[in-house]
């Protein structure tokens, strides 16, 4: 069950190799974070799940069914999709954006809009924003709408393509918190693409670090990767040498203070 990448590869007609021999399983209700620099094939891999890209070798299975055997349009409607910034339909009001997939699958417009307002609340937006157009919202609000839209048809699987990449760090943090809270309630099977290792560690149950050409540098839980980076590439990518990654404790007034590599306080060690 869940999503399985079975030895998938993608070579484009011009000979560019995006991904080679990638295998990985995302159990149901878990989040897989694909992280890497541009050209690492992370987006290609995610797009194979809803057939925006079709693998040239191997197969992708959702609940043990090969996606290539499913109807493309129906498959996509059954999967929630959170695009990068700028992926909302600019000519549709926010409620209609959220109601997109239910309307496509035949839900009456009125009922779909009603449900959409509820979803706006679920992602922490004032339902009154529903009657605005996307360009009238801030970047952070727009991405909340994108999350609500992806959830509208209550899909089991959610694909997220650098969803919070274009917003400032404070807003990004808020969006990540919101997603974690939603995921705790809803338990979707999520494939998240990001170039931000901190985001991958925060949101992913399992993290795959990719090198150029879709080669897996390391797969593991955030803890495993942090504790035991597979090689110099991973060590460099996760920033093992960065001051904020090498913490130590110092005793101050009888308490254990955690400080980073530069000696700046990060927090207090409890227990």
């Amino acid at each position: 069950m869940g999503i399985e990448f079975r030895d998938v590869g993608k070579t484009y007609p011009d000979g560019t190799v995006a991904v080679t021999g990638f295998s990985c399983t995302v159990p149901s209700h878990r989040t897989l974070a694909l992280v890497g620099t541009s050209g690492s094939g992370k987006t290609t891999l995610m797009r194979m799940v809803n057939r925006m890209v079709e693998p040239t070798t191997g197969s992708v299975l959702i609940d043990d069914r090969d996606v290539l055997g499913l109807d493309k349009v129906e498959l996509r409607r059954s999967i929630g999709y959170v695009p990068q910034a700028g992926g909302l339909l600019p000519h549709r009001r926010v409620v209609d954006n959220v109601a997109t997939v239910p309307v496509l699958t035949g839900t009456p417009k009125r009922a779909a809009r009603e449900a959409a307002r509820g979803l706006l609340e679920l992602v922490g937006l004032d339902p009154a924003l529903g009657s605005r157009y996307p360009a009238q919202l801030s970047g952070g609000q727009q991405q909340r709408v994108a999350v609500a839209r992806a959830l509208a048809a209550d899909p089991n699987v959610l694909l997220m393509d650098e969803p919070f990449g274009a917003v400032d760090p404070i807003v990004r943090r808020g969006l990540q918190d919101q997603l974690l809270q939603l995921q705790a309630e809803l338990g979707k099977t999520i494939v998240l693409v990001t170039h931000d290792i901190d985001e991958a560690f925060r949101l992913g149950d399992e993290v795959v670090v990719l090198k150029t050409g879709g080669i897996v540098a390391q797969t593991g839980t955030p803890q495993q990767i942090m504790a035991d980076p597979a090689d110099d590439f991973v060590r460099d990518f996760i920033g093992s040498d960065r001051a904020e990654r090498s913490l130590r404790t110092v005793a101050v007034d009888g308490r254990s203070l955690v400080v980073d590599g530069d000696g700046r306080p990060v927090g207090v060690l409890e227990g």
Partner: protein, 217 residues
Amino acid sequence: MTWVQANRDYVLDMLLQHVRLSVPAILISVLVAVLLGRIAWRWPRAGTVVLGTASLLYSVPALPLLIVIPVLLGIPLRSGLTLVVALAVYGTALLAGTAADAFRSVDERVREAAEAMGYSRAGLFWRVDLPLAVPVLLSGVRVITVSTVSLVTIGALVGIPSLGNLLTDGFQRDIRAEIVTGVVATMLLAVALDGLLVATGRLVTPWRGNVATGVTT
């Protein structure tokens, strides 16, 4: 003014003929140009040939074209259809490139997200690409509307009645008021149709007006 009052029915009749010739020509131009523009957008290599041919057609002089079309299509020389086809050729030639630009103006991120959400190919065209192409497309439609309305007058030279008759007749009989009426009526018709297009454009792209005055918090 006395000339207009005395010939009111004649002027109105010619105005109606003018509308009957120009509006179908504009509509056909838009349909064909959107089709060609879509092809050019979808298959850029073939598109270069299509758009090149289209703009070449625009350089064909009008009078020979009005002779050639009846021969090719087997319709009478003085039929309004001849003029409508000729004007549609010019309109399409002028608009096809803009139509291709209009499709290119649609944000690729929006298209991709719509496709990934499960829009069918037809749905993507009708509900995403076409509405989002409207602003650029409309700018081109406005140009061909004005040019078509003014071109209709040349039909008078081969005996297809329109406001152009006021010009030919006025010149032949040296009635200055008739010429002025013909020019002014043609211009007013062009301005009126243009206004109609602008209003329609606002109506079908409500998201744009709102953006300008929008709150961005």
